[in-house]
Amino acid sequence: MYMTNLFVLVSIFLLFVVNNCVCVDEEDFSEELVLSDLGNGYSYFGFNFVFTRQVNDFNFVIKATSSHKHFSLFPRSISDLAARFRVSEFHLTLSQGYWNHAAWGYASQPQPQGAELWAWLGSHGSESDKVESNWREFVSAVSGMFCASVNAMATGAVATSPAWSYRPEGLSQRGREPRTLRLAQIVNQGVCTENLTPWSRLLPCKKQAGIGQLLNAVKLHDSAYNSVQVHFKPTHRGLALRLVFTAVIDRRIAQLGKADWSVYSLLSRAVSLPCSLATSQTGSRLLVLKRTAPDPDQSAVQPEPLQSYNLANGLKLLDYNLTKMLDDEAKDSVDVKFNFPWTWVPVERLQSPPVVAQKYQIGTGSEMGGVVVAISNRHPSQAINVIILEIVPWQLRMLFHTLELTLGDNLAHKANKVHYQQSVDRVRPAKLELLVTVPPRTSLRVSYRFTKQLVRWNEFPPDANHGLYLPPTVVSFVAPSDSSLRLPVLPQTVLSIAELTANRNATTPEPIFVRLYTEALLVNAPKPDFSMPYNVLCLVCTVLAIGSGFMHNVACKLASVSNPNPADKDATLIGRLKKMLTPWRRQ
C-alpha cells in the first residue's frame, strides 16, 4: 500500500520534472481595439487578439505526438487542429456584409462576403497523398469548432488552389518544405453569435476583462459589416494566432444620425478591467487611427491619448493603454469619444484608394450569363500590376473563349500572364488568374460569359429559387508607396508597436500588399420542378417503352391477313359487350 502510494507520488513528481524541463514554451498574449471614423457616418471597430508561442521543437506543427505539451495562453485546440491535419497555416473568415473599399479604404485583413477558409497543408513526402483527406477532415473540424456550416468546403467542387493570388504569410517550419494551398469560399454563409461564442472562448480573459468586455454580440452583429476571423501561421520563432473581429457600424441607423459617438454609445459596453493575462509590455490597448492628410478627420477625440504616433500615408495613431489608464487614474471604466463639428463628411471629400474593383452581371434569363470586372487604377503616375483571381463554380460553366480584356481604349488587350483551369462538373470549379499591368489613370475591364447549367435536383442549396452565388473576384497588388492609402488598420499593429516606439514619427511609407474582394453576385440559374422525380421517371420510361415496344413489334411479329368475319368481331370488347346484352334485348 505504502509502496504503491510512493510509486504514484514519484511518478507524478517525475512527470512534473519532465514537463517543466523539456516542454516549457514561452507564450505571449496581447490585445487591442482599433477605432476609426471611416467618414459618412461609419465607425470602424477592429478587435485584435494576438497569441504567440515560441516553440523550441520546430517539428511541433508536423508532429501530432506533441500533444503532451503544456499550454497556458495559446489555445490548445487550434494548435492540435494544425498538428493533427498537418496544417502549417490557415485563415478562416466569416463575414456578413461587404467591405466597401471604394468608400472605406483598404482593410488590414481583407475579407470576402460569407465564409472563406484558406490553408497551407504540408505535402511533404508521404503526406502528399493525404492532402485531400487532411483538408476534408480539417474543414469538418473547423466547421465544428466555430459552429459554422462550412462543410461544403470539404468537397473539391468548392475548394481550389490559386497559383499566384495567395502566398503563405507565415514562415515554413522546415525551410522550403512543400506545401499545398487549399482555398474555399462560401458566399451565402451567415455569421452570427453562435460563431462568435466559440471564438470568444479562445480568449484567455474571455468576455470578462480587457477588450473582450466590449464584444457585445447584439450591437456588433447589427452592423453594416462584421467579420469573425482566425489567422494561424508559423513565425520564425514559433506560432502566431490572431483572432480578429471587425465591425463597421452605420451611425445613421445605430444612432439615428447622431454624429458624435463613443465606444459606449455604439457598443453599450465599456472596459472596466484590464486583461491581466495580456503581456505587460503592450497590455490591453485601445488605438485610434486618424487621418491627418490630405483630408484630415474632423473629429475631436477625447480623452487625450497617453501617446501618439505619426504614421506613414498621412495617418496618426492615438494610443490608449487601458492597463495604465485604469491603474493610474483609478477610473471605473474607459470610454473614447469622437466629437464632430458637423453631421458627417460628404462622400466626395474623401479621397478614394488608388485601385478600386467592381463586379457586375450582364445578360438576361437563366440560360446564359456574363460577368464584368472593372478595375481602375486612379494613381496619377504609377502603373500597377494586378493579379485577378476569378473562381467560377462548375454550375456556371465559364466560356474561356469569351474572355475579353479591355484596357482603356484598347479593346483586345492581352494579359501578361494567364492561368486557367477548366471546371469539371461536380469535381472542381473553374479557376482563372490573370496578371495585368494597369497604367495610371486607366481602367481595366475583364469580361466573360458562362452557361448556366441545369444541375440535379439534389445539388441545389436549400433555397433553390434564391439563386447561385458567384464568388467575389480577388484582386491582389502592391499598392505604390506614395499613394495616400485610406487604410484604417495597420497590418499587425500590436506586433509592430515596439518598432513604432523605436523609430517614432516614421514617415517613409512602404509599399503595401493589398488583396481586394469585389462584390459577390447572385445568379439566377435554371431550376427543374422539384416535385417531379417519380413523374419524370414514369413518363420517360413510358416513352422509352413505346419506342422499344414499336421496335419489338417490328422485329418479332409477321404481317399476315385476318378475316374480319363476325366471329372475330365478337372477340373484341364491344362485340363481347353486345353479346352479353343480347339475351336482355330479346326479353
Binding site: 466560356l399 462538373d425 419506342g547
Partner: protein, 441 residues
Amino acid sequence: ALTVFGLTALELALCLAGCLCRLALRAWLTPQSVRAWSSSPVESWTAVREYLALRRAGVDPYDGSALHLPPLSLRLMLAADSLLGGGDGDRAWLVLLALELAGCLALKRLLREFGAYTLRRQAANVASYCSASVPMLLSGDSLRRLRLPVIAAYWFNPYSLVASVAEATTPLSNLVVLLCLAELCRGRVGFAAALCAAAAYHGLYPLCLIVPICLAGPARPALLAFAGTLACLLATSYMLTGGSWAYLQSVYAFHALAPDHTPGFSLSWYLFCEAFDHFRSLFQAVFQANLVCVLAPLAIRFRSDPCFLAVICWAYTAIFKPYCCVSEQALIACVFIMHAQLHAHMRRALLAIILLIVAFVLAPIMHHLWLYPGSANSNFYFAISLLHCTAMALLLYLFCIAYLKREFLLHHGPQPLKFSDGTEAKIVLQAPTVKLLFVNN
C-alpha cells in the same frame, strides 16, 4: 444538261435557295436564341471556339467539362475554318455551310446508289414475288423523280434550318454517315466500315451501323477495316493531345453516362436531372441497353435488306441517344422521303407529322417561358421534348410497318387482298406462333 458536281440546274437552285435561306435566318436570329433546343452540348460550334482558345492559352482542352468532340473532328473544323479565311473560329457559318453542301452531294450520291441497290435487290427477288404485284415494283424513273423532293427536304427541313442557325456541328457527322450509307448501298463493305468507324469516332452512336455493314458483305474484312480505322483515329488523337487518353473520358464516357443536363430534345436530360442518385446508374444502363438490345432482333428481321436495317438502326439511336441533335433527325426524315415506295403504306404518318409540327412550334415558346420570364416551369418544355421523341418514334414505327406491309403485298399480291371465299382480308401484325393462313386472290 448542265451539271455541277453531278447536280442539275434545278438541284443547284435548291442548294442556293437553301444557303440563302440559312444566311437570312442567321441575320435575323442569333445562335444563342435557338441553340438550346436545336443543338446539343456535344455538337456545338462553341466547343470549337473553346478548343481553339484553350489550346492557345496552353491549357489541356480535355481537362474539363467543356468539350465532348474528339480532337480530330475539332482539328478538322478548325482547319476548314482557317482555310476559309477565319483563323479564330469565327467562320462557323461558312464552314458549316460548306459541310452542308458536301452533305448534299453525299445525299445525291446516296440517292443514286440507293436507287441502284433497290433495283438490284428487286431484280434478285422478283421471282418470289406474286405476279399480281408487278405494278408495285419500282422503276429507275420513279427513283429518279425522288431527287428533287429529297434535296428540297434536306435544305428546307425546319429543324435543319434552326440547327444551322444554332451553329450545330452535326453537318460533319451527317456527311460521314451519308457517305457510309452510300458505300453500303454500293456494296463496298470495307469503305463503309471505315466510314462507320469515322462516324463512331465522332459521336459513338453510329457504331450501330457496323451490324448492317457486316450483314451486307463478308464480315471479316468489314470488321478489320472498322477496327483498323478506329485504331488509327484513336491513336492519332492520342498523339495530337500530347499522349493523353483524357479525351476518351470526355467524349465517349460523356455519351454513355450523360452527366450534363442541358435541356435538349432528348429524353435523358430531365430524367437524369430528376433521378434519385441510387437509381441513376440503373437508368444510365437502361438507356444504353435500350439502344443495344433493339439491334439484335432488328438485325435478324431485316438481315436480307442491310440498307434498310442501317437506316432504322441509325434512326433509332438518333432518337433515343442521350444527346440527340435535331439536325440529324431532319436528315433521317430526308432518308424516309427517299423510300418513296413506302409512303403509300404509312397510314398514320399525318398524326406523327402533326405532332412534330406542334413540338417544333411549342419548343421555343416553352423554352423561353421557362428560362426567361419564368412564367412556365421546366415541365412544360419537358412535355414538348417527350412529345417530340414520341412523334419521332411513331414515325420510325410507321416507316418499318410500311416496309413490312409492302413486302407482304409484294409476295401476296396488291391490295385489296381477298380470301378464297371472296371476303376482304385485312393485313395485321401477329406473333409468329399463330397459325397463319396465306391466301392469294
